[in-house]
């Protein structure tokens, strides 16, 4: 069974995706002033409409991770990789993505990672191909 769904993104996700095409990551300020990345239209806890965008870094810290030996179809990397929640510098929440660490022994909670950008500018999540360990 196969469908291609076309989805309208709305103003908040549109702005986030457009920023990704310029290699820029934007979060949004939540009701409590915390910066949510990726940005949501509403505060995930209070439901308040959000609108104040904040630029954050394309590098951050792994808050938790899991090591995949057998990637499944459609996942960001087709070789062993780590799923991770990454809290970007300037953000107060973490985003889910893949980390290309090569080997599980290179992964740890608290490690620094940065975005590996797609060569082509895309105004979609695909602009972030994966994360990789930050050069020490």
């Amino acid at each position: 069974m196969e469908y291609t769904y076309t989805r309208s993104v709305g103003p908040v996700i549109d702005r986030f995706f457009s920023g990704l095409a310029d290699r820029k990551i934007q979060g949004i300020k939540g009701s409590d002033g915390k910066v949510i990345v990726p940005p949501t239209e509403y505060d995930p806890y209070t439901g308040e409409t959000l609108s104040e965008f904040v630029d954050v870094a394309d590098a951050g810290t792994v808050t938790t991770w899991a090591w995949v030996t057998d990637p499944r179809p459609g996942q960001p990397l087709q070789k062993p990789f780590a799923w991770a929640l990454v809290q970007l510098d300037g953000a107060d929440t973490a985003m889910l993505h893949a980390v290309d660490a090569g080997d599980e022994s290179r992964m740890s909670t608290g490690m620094r990672v940065k975005v590996h950008w797609c060569d082509e500018p895309v105004a979609d999540l695909a602009a972030i191909e994966y994360f990789e360990p930050e050069a020490s």
Binding site: E2, T4, T6, R7, S8, V9
Partner: protein, 162 residues
């Protein structure tokens, strides 16, 4: 509203693969089709004969029983004429598609009605199956239904099966 009018659209392709199990009753039906036979099953409560039973009487919620062969001949109870081409269509338009109630069955099969001018397709038309050259466990084994040449069935005989 203007900002909505120029909203961005993204594509999200989704693909899922399934391996279906036809189930006990439907397997018996499909095996019959592969042998050029239409096998019905009877509800032990209401006595109705279902062709292509999914294993239960949808009215009484009890397992259907027995293998009751019905003839590949019956009555066109209702139909529509398709004039619009759509993706995946394998027949040239216009064509007639309808419900065929096999003699002795209480539920109709869906099928194409051919070898008759579209304007002559009518409720009550008596039809018989034209089987495909190669039979398999699929309803494609019945290529289409054609007029059998018998006089039309009286409306009263199929009015409860529309």
């Amino acid at each position: 509203m203007a900002e909505h009018a120029e909203g961005t659209i993204i594509e999200r392709p989704i693909r899922l693969d399934y391996e279906y199990t036809a189930g006990l009753a439907q397997s018996r039906f499909l095996k019959g089709i592969a042998e050029g036979k239409i096998i019905g099953e009877k509800c032990p409560v209401c006595g109705k004969v279902y062709v292509g039973s999914r294993g239960s009487c949808p009215t009484d919620g009890v397992p259907t029983e027995g293998e009751i062969e019905v003839p590949a001949k019956g009555t066109l109870t209702t139909f529509c004429v398709v004039n619009v081409q759509f993706a995946g269509q394998s027949v040239e338009t216009p064509y007639a598609s309808g419900y065929i109630l096999c003699d002795g069955a209480d539920i109709a099969l869906m099928g194409l009605v051919q070898e008759v001018p579209i304007e002559e397709v009518r409720m009550g038309l008596r039809v018989e199956a034209v089987w495909a050259d190669e039979l398999g466990p699929t309803l494609n084994s019945i290529k289409y239904w054609k007029p059998s040449g018998e006089p039309d069935a009286d409306y009263e005989t199929f009015r409860h099966h529309l």
